[in-house]
């Protein structure tokens, strides 16, 4: 199966008019970081705790910008109250791209981060789309359209998290 290339993700962000990437990287997102930092249309806002991503995105959206959140599933779960109050409570139309640590394509799950990821999203009534390869990339655009239409966060689970962003350009 083809991998998800960072260039494809970046193209989706640009195509959908993202202005800011609010993010907390993990070790596998380095090449996406390089591409994003070289992209003049994107302003990177690094946070040190994923919960800050939702309040930062709420402020950006209130000011008329179009942020996207890029975090890992572990941090998403740590962010529950911020997602509730700032993301959902303020109707922020934001796409949250979530690295799906431990994703096994419905195989045996040995990582509790993966075990709870979709359960967490169900609990918060957040709709989500799974993106595993370049062929799935249009789902990112679907998520952007849905977030805008519904005025609420929509998740994109990046099921290629362990290696996809680390492929060479």
């Amino acid at each position: 199966m083809a991998e998800l290339s960072p260039a494809t993700v970046l193209e989706q962000l640009k195509k959908n008019g993202a202005t800011h990437v609010v993010w907390l990287p993990d070790s596998e997102t380095n090449f996406l970081y390089v591409l994003m930092s070289e992209e003049p249309s994107l302003d990177l806002v690094p946070v040190s705790r994923e919960g800050h991503a939702f309040s930062t995105a709420a402020g950006l959206a209130a000011g008329g910008k179009k942020p996207v959140i890029l975090i890992q599933n572990t941090g998403m779960m740590e962010s529950g109250d911020s997602l509730r109050g700032w993301g959902l409570g303020m109707n922020v139309p934001v796409v949250m791209m979530v690295g799906y640590r431990g994703w096994t394509r419905h195989g045996v799950i040995n990582d509790t981060a993966a075990f709870y990821t979709e359960r967490f999203l169900h609990a918060f009534n957040i709709n989500y789309y799974l993106v595993e390869s370049d062929e799935d990339a249009d789902r990112i655009s679907i998520a952007f359209a849905e977030a805008q239409r519904e005025k609420r966060p929509v998740a994109v689970l990046v099921g290629d998290e362990y290696h996809g962003f680390n492929v060479s350009r």
Binding site: S55, T56, G59
Partner: protein, 197 residues
């Protein structure tokens, strides 16, 4: 120590056309403000997030001054926002922090290490180019013009009196005059901001 309302009364004279996020001072500010469409009295969407919300707002509209009245409980919970603010360095962000030493809305229990914390030192260490610590109205009145007259981000720790609320949440007076979303919509209309399509 200052009364929050008295401090805000002085601030109001120097506000100009700044967008104000009154944070935990909201219940006092809504009584004072004469530009409610430039106010974002959000209450408490989720504790610890006001600073990063203000950062996002300041980055989104660099031509508008953004003034936040944060609290020490929020800063303690969301202290990691300070280095992000310092790194992004929005010149239009003025970050005031109300420090009463307690969780006033839960009955007045002390915040961790309340007597020892030097928040302006923390902010300075995180990289804020200008920080202040003010504990009386006279100094606030004499320094507010300088504070707001320089480029941000500026951090100002303000020692205020605990004005403790001890009623059950559902029994407390509702000071907010509009919903959060209405406050945002009114500000956007006032400033001509179009939400992105």
């Amino acid at each position: 120590m200052m009364k929050t309302a008295e401090m805000l009364e002085i601030f109001k004279r120097h506000r100009g056309d700044a967008v104000v996020i009154p944070g935990r001072g909201g219940r006092f500010w809504v009584e004072l403000s004469d530009q409610p469409d430039r106010d974002l009295p959000l209450g408490d969407p989720a504790m610890g997030g006001h600073a990063s919300f203000a950062l996002g707002l300041a980055l989104a509209m660099p031509d508008q001054r953004v003034v936040l009245f944060d609290s020490e409980g929020d800063v303690l919970m969301g202290m990691g926002a300070l280095p992000t603010i310092a790194e992004k360095a929005p010149a239009n962000l003025y970050h005031f922090m109300l420090d009463n030493g307690v969780y006033a809305t839960t009955g007045g229990q002390p915040v961790p290490n309340a007597e020892q914390m030097e928040y302006e030192v923390v902010a300075q260490g995180c990289g804020y180019p200008a920080t202040y610590a003010i504990d009386n109205l006279e100094d606030f009145a004499s320094q507010i013009e300088e504070i707001l007259g320089q480029p941000g981000p500026v951090f100002v720790a303000l020692k205020i009196d605990p004005e403790i609320i001890n009623e059950p949440i559902n029994a407390r007076p509702q000071w907010q005059r509009k919903t959060r979303n209405q406050a945002v919509a009114d500000m956007q209309a006032e400033l001509g901001i179009q939400p992105p399509a």
